[in-house]
């Protein structure tokens, strides 16, 4: 048998019934918040990295980039290895798994005589439509070559649809070089 406790709602005292005292106390609370905000001492401003005028971080001037976690999923980008080889071998797994179909790859052969001819393929074209991308990270997860990564760039903007399609060049520019991963094509290892 569960124990049943009956609670009675507390009666209002006479001073509570007048309201004026309560309203006065209330104004003191709101005024305190107002003054603290105006003088840049809002409670919690410190931990939220704001100027102190309220707890709002004023975005373009103040950013949260330093606090972004390791696992942050920003814009997807292609990376090269330590010998500046394109890691992508255009297997198109990311293209197939991409839920919004944002990735489009045109594979290309690596011609004979190239330093990396044994890799056989690399993308001729690699476009990610950032209007469609949902930053799910499945491309990163599925990539057998660890060639595509979600970086911490989140402010992807443009004034036209064309601008919002990241081509290969742009993807490598965002991605840069990534070292110390799988090195199966590396002779030096």
């Amino acid at each position: 048998m569960a124990k049943v406790t009956k609670l009675t709602r507390p009666e209002l005292s006479k001073s509570d019934e007048v309201y004026l005292i309560g309203i006065f106390k209330g104004t003191l609370v709101t005024l305190k918040h107002a003054f603290k905000s105006v003088f840049g001492k809002s409670r919690g401003a410190e931990s939220l990295n704001s100027t102190g005028l309220g707890v709002t971080m004023q975005y373009p001037e103040e950013k949260w980039d330093d606090e972004l976690p390791e696992y942050y999923r920003g814009a997807p980008a292609l990376v090269t290895d330590e010998q500046d080889r394109e890691r992508c071998v255009s297997c198109q797994l990311c293209e197939f798994i991409c839920p919004p179909k944002a990735i489009q790859i045109i594979p290309g052969e690596i011609p004979e005589g190239d330093e990396w001819a044994k890799v056989e393929k690399r993308p001729k074209e690699f476009d990610i439509d950032m209007i469609r991308c949902i930053y799910c990270g499945l491309c990163e997860e599925v990539c057998p070559e660890q060639a595509i990564y979600l970086r911490k760039d989140y402010a992807i903007t443009g004034t036209s649809r064309e601008e919002m399609i990241h081509n290969k060049e742009r993807l490598y520019e965002i991605g840069g070089k990534r070292v110390g991963l799988v090195n199966k094509w590396n002779d030096l290892k």
Binding site: T27, T30, H33, L53, G54, V55, T56, Q58
Partner: protein, 414 residues
Amino acid sequence: MESLIPIIIILAKVIGITFVLTLPIIAYSVYAERRFAAVIQDRVGPNRTGIPLTIFGFKKDISFFGLLQPLADGLKFILKEDFVPSHVNKFFFWLAPALTMVPALVTLSVVPFGSTLFGEKLVIADASVGPLLIFAIASLSVYGITIAGWASNNKYSFFGGVRSCAQMISYEIALGLSVIPVLMHFGDLNLSNIVAEQAKNGWLILPLWGEGLTTERMLLWIPMIISFFIFTISIFAETNRMPFDLPECETELVGGYHTEYSSMKFALFFLGEYAAMIVGSALIVTLFLGGWSIGFGADAWVFETFGDWAGLIHLGVFLAKLVAFILFFILIRWTVPRFRYDQLMKLGWVVFFEAALINILIAALIMTYNRGQLSNIELAGATAGVVIFSVVMFYIAKSLDRMLASDAETPAKS
């Protein structure tokens, strides 16, 4: 040519006080509301709108703490589509916004904004019926809201209109009754004279200089404070401000009486509310807080030192008091939660109505006593009368209260 000068002076006053002073104050009180609300809630508020220099190829915009926000708001209201739904009563739908804005601006005509500037009083109409005119015109603004609610042909709007109608009529009584002791004390209905009197002999709720230090004023202080409370709270209800903003209470009525309005017509309602707030604050400041007077006997010194320019200083003082009161309105709005409708009616009819009536009698008793027109027996009789009246009033209020409570408990029979 000679006959033209008074007309030019009146025109200058109308344009100066209404268009140069009041309309920008209305616009900026919206901005103040948003910024003040923001800092109360630990936010920032609109702080970006400024001169968009980047459009012209400069590196940075100038924002001035967002001080140009009202301009942007106004521009937005003008450029928005002025949509008139097909199911409304067109004529009244168009009439209603004007009926809320115009009375608020008309009432400004008798408010003294300052003392004299080159021998001209800084008031548009130096009428000897000041407060009466304000009450008469201000009660017209209830038509605007009620007609808006009715013409919208929408049940939520209609509820808003009806609520507003009942609320404003109820609180007008408290408003009128609470101001009677004040008018009895001054014996004058001309607001300019009332302010001049306060400048000389102490503000009504701060009688600390001149004749303010007599026993009569000290005794009168109590009813005046009660008057001040009732009057201020009734003004809150009259202007549909926050603790009493049931006509547009968005949690129950979508947007209340202005649900169907858009663009400039909505802006007129929106700004009309602020205009009413300004008139209300101006009235409170004028009647109870000494209007344009600096107080503490400093006004005579100002008149001597600055001569013809004294009016400007007094104008500044008046505006400072006005702004302080508007900020008080805003502070209360973001502090106190909304009343329930029956609580609102109870406060108006059961508390304020009786309190104001008793207050009038107390003030009258104090005044007659101090003028020595009563023998001791008469005084005792009058006091007993006031006490008996108060007890009866209190009893009526209590029984009304109990009746309302039992009504609320028993479910309605259908």
